[in-house]
């Protein structure tokens, strides 16, 4: 009972923090229907600012800067206000121009904003943890309840401030004029504008409040655990989002309930399950996946009366763009031929790559080119689901991991360690594993896909995200199967009929062959009736359904295909690297892959490779710059900034003209181009 009581108390404290951050997600989602992934990073910024303001001096970008040394409440207040201002700035710059864009655009932008903020924080505050300073309030003796449950004074402060903030916000939204305007904007932005509500300002207010809440959660979290770190917002951010979805996203009491439930479940799970602390993160995501399956609207959420926007996030495009378009016009023309003469261009690209493979003298650059191909293939797989079917998948790395682990476990843990087989004799197994890994991942994808089919696009993204995290956590913690965080070493390089393919050049050509196969398969599929169904779902799921396209089945095909490519590439990846660990398959990798296809062009065949070439080569070239050597993470910040700029000015990516349109004859960028194509098609019949 004492133990249970203490866990309950710990869970409530943790739940209070989750609830505060969950409110941020729920408020902004409620008003603009955007899952702002960047709240995890605003949480982190709040923690850093408070910590810095309380110290006498801080090392920023390597320079010692004097700080005011505020008391905890003052520092926390200033940090919350500054973070609120930052949140408003982020909305103004990165999201407001995308209000009429397809929903995928601001979602991806918010992921890019996350990457930028996290990388910049690492540059400013360093890669080390910043210790949270001692202060008087925290030194008071703990309060003892029922003789056995210990709560520090700060624990009480955490719960009290969460309660006050939540109550205050609920009253504000229900009673105040601005709160009423927020609810009106949430219901119908046009009608709100027509009655004189300045919707942009109302949305900015929602961002300010949400960011303030996220920052407050970050402050309390940093205080509880005693540190601030640039990546500290990632997991709590996901948990808060989980809590918001759990409670019913858009509902403030729901966010509070979801946060508390999550905090309690985590604390109790960590306390009672065998090896519970290691698994506690998985518990919350399993809870999320299960809940979305049985009750997608969350505990307190009302089911959406209007199912519009279900599934695809890319459809319903309004005209976007800006002055920067002209800059890309030349590139467009360069690439315009590729959709019409796809075969010739593909052959040319393969020949060019092969020539590069023969001519590049150094093993170093051959390895880089191989990495490009691997990322290009992976991005192609992700592109099937995101670019062609228009469904955001944040758990794609799980498929990659499944392929890698399948072959590594079979070769190293089963054959070598288990049966003592000499691995040269089973070289053929690698070639068998390629499709096998693909099929296993595809099966897993279907398993995951089935319950998500009836979810709205945002929920789908969150569920895949939870799934990806579960696979990663299993890989870390199921030591018996995966060797845990140690990873698996000694995976043999591919061999072909006794000829080892271990040299960088041989591996490059193997990768090139596989990449050609992947692109060929994807291209054939996309150009078939299956691909047409995908594109139809992407453009307008309801219309597709009304035209008799069995959308559920085709979405499953997209999942399966995407999973197959992920698993297939995973098998090669393991034998190429000869070592894998759970670190290889983080959500961050998934985000990078997503950025690469946006960079190259969603829904194009060459886009993923264009993105991969630019990114991997840039990574290598930039590392020679002294500043980048000191702050390697700035490369990720730059990628994020480029991505945001692309979403704002050129959402169709660099290889836009190659995007597969709904009407194949009318290739052209943007909705208008497609509409024209449709008109032309009708005129032709």
């Amino acid at each position: 009972m004492d133990y249970f009581g203490q866990l309950l108390a710990n869970g409530l404290v943790l739940g209070a923090v989750y609830a505060l951050a969950a409110v941020a997600f729920t408020l902004v989602y409620g008003v603009v229907r955007l899952v702002n992934f960047a709240f995890g990073e605003l949480f982190m910024v709040g923690a850093f600012l408070t910590t810095s303001l309380m110290l006498p001096e801080v090392r920023l970008v390597g320079h010692v800067v004097p700080m005011p040394g505020f008391s905890f409440p003052v520092a926390a207040l200033v940090a919350v206000l500054l973070t609120a201002a930052l949140g408003v700035a982020v909305d103004r710059i990165a999201y407001r121009p995308l209000r009429r864009a397809p929903r995928l655009a601001p979602l991806i932008t918010s992921i890019a904003v996350s990457v930028v903020l996290q990388s910049l924080a690492q540059t400013v505050w360093g890669a080390e943890e910043l210790r949270f300073p001692e202060f008087e309030l925290a030194t008071y003796p703990p309060v003892v309840l029922f003789d056995s449950i210990y709560l520090s004074v700060m624990d009480l402060v955490v719960m009290a401030s969460a309660l006050c903030a939540m109550t205050g916000l609920t009253l504000f939204v229900a009673r105040s004029s601005l709160g009423r305007a927020m609810r009106a904007s949430a219901e119908d932005q046009t009608a709100a504008l027509l009655v004189g509500v300045p919707v942009d300002r109302v949305v900015a207010a929602a961002f300010a409040i949400g960011s303030g809440f996220a920052a407050l959660a970050g402050v309390l979290y940093a205080q509880t655990y005693g540190f601030a770190h640039s990546s500290m917002g990632f997991l709590p951010g996901l948990k808060a989002l989980t809590a918001a979805v759990l409670g019913g996203i858009g509902s403030i009491p729901g966010a509070a309930l979801g946060g508390v439930v999550l905090g309690l479940v985590e604390a109790l799970g960590a306390g009672y399950l065998p090896n519970g602390t290691a698994w506690k993160d998985a518990i919350s995501f399993v809870l999320l996946v299960l809940l979305l399956y049985v009750r997608p609207q969350g505990l307190l959420g009302r089911p959406e009366l209007n199912a519009a926007g279900r599934g695809s996030l890319l459809g319903g495009a309004a005209e976007m763009g800006g002055w920067l378009r002209g800059v890309f016009a030349g590139l467009d023309r360069l690439l315009a031929g590729s959709s019409a003469r796809g075969g010739a261009v593909a052959l040319g690209a393969v020949a060019l790559a092969a020539a590069a493979g023969l001519l590049v003298p150094s093993d170093y650059w051959l390895r880089i080119l191989t990495t490009v191909l691997i990322y290009g293939m992976l991005a192609s797989g992700l592109n099937v689901i995101v670019g062609f079917a228009g469904l955001l998948d944040l758990g794609f790395v799980a498929f990659w991991a499944v392929g890698s682990y399948l072959t590594s476990i079979l070769f190293v843990l089963v054959l070598k360690d288990g049966f003592g087989v000499a691995l040269q004799e089973t070289w053929w197994l690698f070639y068998l594993n390629l499709p096998l890994g693909g099929l296993l991942a595809a099966a897993l994808a279907v398993l995951l896909g089935t319950p998500t089919l009836r979810l709205r696009g945002d929920y789908l993204a969150i569920m895949t995200l939870g799934f990806g995290e579960i696979v990663r956590i299993v890989a870390i913690n199921w030591v018996g199967l995966t060797n845990g965080p140690m990873g698996i070493r000694g995976i043999p390089a591919p061999v072909l009929f006794g000829v080892p393919l271990g040299t960088p050049r041989a591996q490059f050509f193997l990768a090139l062959t596989l990449a050609a196969a992947v692109v060929f398969i994807v291209a054939r599929l996309v150009r078939s009736y299956v691909g047409r169904a995908w594109v139809a779902i992407r453009e307008d799921e309801e219309a597709a359904e009304a035209m008799g396209v069995p959308t559920a089945r085709y979405k499953l095909y997209a999942y399966a295909m995407s999973g197959f490519v992920g698993g297939f590439v995973g098998v090669f990846y393991a034998h190429y690297q000869q070592y894998i660990s759970p670190l290889n398959f983080s959500l961050f990798e998934n985000i990078i892959l997503l950025m690469l296809i946006v960079l190259g062009g969603l829904g194009t065949f060459i886009g993923p490779f264009v993105g991969a070439v630019i990114w991997i080569v840039f990574l290598q070239v930039a590392i020679d710059i002294p500043f980048v050597q000191a702050y390697p993470e700035t490369r990720f910040a730059l990628l994020g900034v480029i991505l945001i700029a692309l979403m704002l000015f050129r959402p169709q990516g660099l290889a836009a003209s190659a995007r597969v349109p709904l009407v194949m004859a009318g290739a052209g960028p943007g909705k208008a181009g497609r509409a024209e194509g449709a008109v032309a098609g009708r005129a032709g019949t």
Partner: protein, 261 residues
């Protein structure tokens, strides 16, 4: 409807209540208005003027560009070309909420009441642009006198009202900003004949109390019966207009249906 006395303070002080013989400075003046959706031009070169104290209608078939024109006047849709002047001021670049502040209220197509909010909250939101928050309660009383049914439903969620009641709420919500121009987009759409009569009587009542009305109707016959001036739109352009007693239903119908002369 026997309009009860008491919306006197909504009366525009300078608005004439009878039809002036001499042309007056228009309250709303639209010149060369064009709107595009992507590469598709939905409205091309529309000129129209609404004189104070009048009911002016814009009629035309589905897809003629009527609602698009209204949305552009309210600032919701961006203009590809043209200017909008209101009460002598160029408002072409003004934000939608600022236009409400200047005195333009827009009762949108399909009513678009805030379904999850109470009738009272809908009305209070209608007065969002006003500085005199104290007067809001008084205007709610005035408007519930004009629409007694709303008075009985003040605490009810707007989404639970019938179509006709929602239309009355949408009109009352528009009037809450004390507009000098009330734009109404298809206020009779989908309503029962009796309710249509009630709504159209209300339009006359609103004008009688001094608010100028710009009305979009698919039902050209009803629109002509009410209006002082009629514009006919087809394929994004104004193809015909007629004023006062000159309004010839047959000619309007001919243009509506697509006659060339």
């Amino acid at each position: 409807m026997s309009g009860p006395a008491g919306i006197g303070h909504i009366v525009h002080p300078t608005a004439p209540t009878s039809h002036p013989a001499l042309p007056v400075e228009p309250l709303l003046e639209v010149r060369g208005l064009s709107v595009s959706y992507g590469r598709i031009r939905a409205v091309e070169g529309v000129d129209l003027a609404v004189e104070p104290g009048r009911i002016v209608s814009l009629v035309g078939s589905n897809g003629a560009g009527k609602s698009t024109t209204l949305m552009a006047i309210s600032g919701i849709l961006p203009l590809a070309a043209g200017t909008v002047r209101f009460a002598g001021e160029d408002i072409t670049r003004l934000a939608p909420e600022a236009r409400v502040g200047r005195g333009i209220a827009h009762v949108p197509e399909r009513r678009r009441v805030f379904a999850g909010m109470s009738v009272r909250e809908n009305l209070v939101l209608g007065g969002y642009s006003r500085g005199d928050r104290a007067e809001i309660e008084r205007d709610i009383d005035t408007l519930t006198a004009l629409f007694p049914i709303l008075g009985k439903r003040l605490g009810q969620a707007a989404g639970t009202l019938s179509g006709g009641e929602q239309q009355m709420l949408a009109i009352a919500r528009g009037l809450m900003s004390r507009p000098s121009l009330l734009i109404m987009d298809e206020p009779t759409m989908g309503l029962a004949p009796q309710v249509i009569d009630l709504i159209l009587d209300t339009v006359l009542e609103i004008r009688a109390r001094g608010t100028t009305v710009l009305l979009v109707e698919q039902n050209a016959v009803e629109a002509m019966r009410l209006s002082d001036h009629v514009y006919v739109m087809r394929l994004g352009r104004i193809v015909h207009q007629d004023s006062g007693s000159n309004i010839d239903p047959d000619r309007v119908k001919a243009f509506y249906m697509g006659a060339e002369a």
